[in-house]
């Protein structure tokens, strides 16, 4: 029952994210969607993933998005046509959206028809944080270290790309 509640909340929030005109509302609705997904992770016996979903995604990445939206302060898409009509109601999106929806319905119908015996979950979940830590530091230790290098590279790249270039003689 909780699955349907969280699932519906995630879907509705995501639909509203792409339908909102104001990016600040989009970011807030996406945070709501992440909260719903975090609830789903708890239902899937993954409390660690649920907690880091809130800490990393909803707590850090979305703050970054919010900062950029507020700093750039360009809330509306331009041109008069854009001002008058809602983004989802223009001909291009409407046609493309209809095609996508038909494809999705066909795919879901096919998937539901194929599932004769529903795949039930195995009865022994592995949920402890200790198991995640053990696996991360032994089997996947190389990948773990590589992601730290990745984050360093991303940090340096983001700082370099976002700085101002309008001082001709400035040495940085």
């Amino acid at each position: 029952m909780l699955f349907y509640f969280f699932g519906a909340l995630a879907v509705v929030a995501s639909l509203l994210v792409i339908a909102q005109r104001n990016p600040v509302y989009s970011v807030l609705l996406l945070i709501l969607s992440f909260g719903a997904l975090s609830g789903l992770y708890v239902l899937l016996d993954a409390p660690f993933v649920a907690a880091i979903q809130i800490i990393v995604y909803a707590g850090a990445i979305m703050v970054l998005f919010l900062f950029v939206v507020m700093l750039l302060n360009a809330p509306h898409e331009e041109t008069d046509y854009d001002e008058r009509t809602h983004p989802m109601l223009r001909p291009g999106p409407m046609r493309f959206g209809a095609v996508l929806a038909l494809a999705l319905i066909a795919e879901l119908a096919w998937a539901l028809a194929r599932s004769g015996t529903p795949n039930t979950f195995s009865s022994t979940p592995v949920t402890s944080v200790a198991a995640i830590g053990r696996s991360l530091f032994t089997d996947y230790a190389f990948q773990f270290e590589v992601t730290s290098v990745l984050i360093l590279v991303a940090m340096v790249g983001a700082v370099v790309m976002a700085r101002r270039e309008d001082r001709p003689g400035a040495k940085r």
């Binding site: 945070i31 909803a58 703050v63 507020m70």
Partner: protein, 348 residues
Amino acid sequence: MLDFLSTNSFLIAQVGILVVIWIGLQLSAAVMVYAERKVAAYLQQRVGPTRVGYAGLLQPIADVVKLLLKEELRPAAADPFLFYLAPIISATAAFAAFAVVPFGGSTTLLGLLTEPLPLHVADVNVAVLVVFAITSMGVYGIVLAGWSSNSKYSLLGGLRSSAQMISYELSYGMALAAVLVLANSMSLRDIVNAQSGSLFGIPQFRWFLFLQPIGFLIFFTAGIAETNRAPFDFPEAEQELVAGYHTEYSSMSFGLFFLAEYINMVTVSAVATDLYLGGWWLPLVPESWGWLAFLAKISVLLFFYIWMRWSLPRYRYDQLMAFGWKVLLPVSVLNLIVTAAGVLYFGL
């Protein structure tokens, strides 16, 4: 009636704990209002509020009544939904973080209950992460307040304050990680129980404060920066930014921010007590009266908060950020490494 009470006694006790924490937090905010003004006064060699009630004890009530009766203003260009959502988010995050913090051992309420009732709202086995997550959510209240007020002071204050909060969350998390290494569990109740051993022959004294003094200092400093209190309160400093992100708020919206700030202080003190000061363990105090020891320790930490606000000058914003990134974060990483080495080689 008594039949209903006895069969559902556990459920009623749980709801009772919820009510106790809810009211207790609000009472603590009221006590903090009074304590701050009195302590500040005595630190400045004056007496503080004395007129309202005996020795000014009814001053918080007067403050609340004043806030409730003020006119509720909103700038015309402010986004109304976000403007009123921001203090709600701040206050909700402040209260919600207390849901996983245990504040005592088990009690049977002097024999009224059939089985001992553990003194917490929920015992989650990743409680440390949950507290961290909810504290991260509190940033949004401030960011949205700054943005939706549609005024320069608010926006600058909001952005600076949230940048400060997310920077100090890193050191906060690293200090937490060092405690996790010592305690081998993420559940706050287990962490407190790991501090119930004996140190130097004194029972119930193996507090992590003595095993990791630097970790405690890092955690408490990061906690002060997280709650935007002096000396890290540049974003809401009166002299610098009018009032930062809550410039445009009045009456109960401002009251909610005010409440959220005090309750954040109480939560940080409670978590610090659980992590470093041994929670409810005190030598010679039996476990069922441990919650009194917990209250005493929180009061000591809150006194430190007030003392520091009125004794130390304020950090400038760039000094604040430089301190967080260039000093506190490397020291907390070193602390983690040294703690891990200590556990590995000396079996702490």
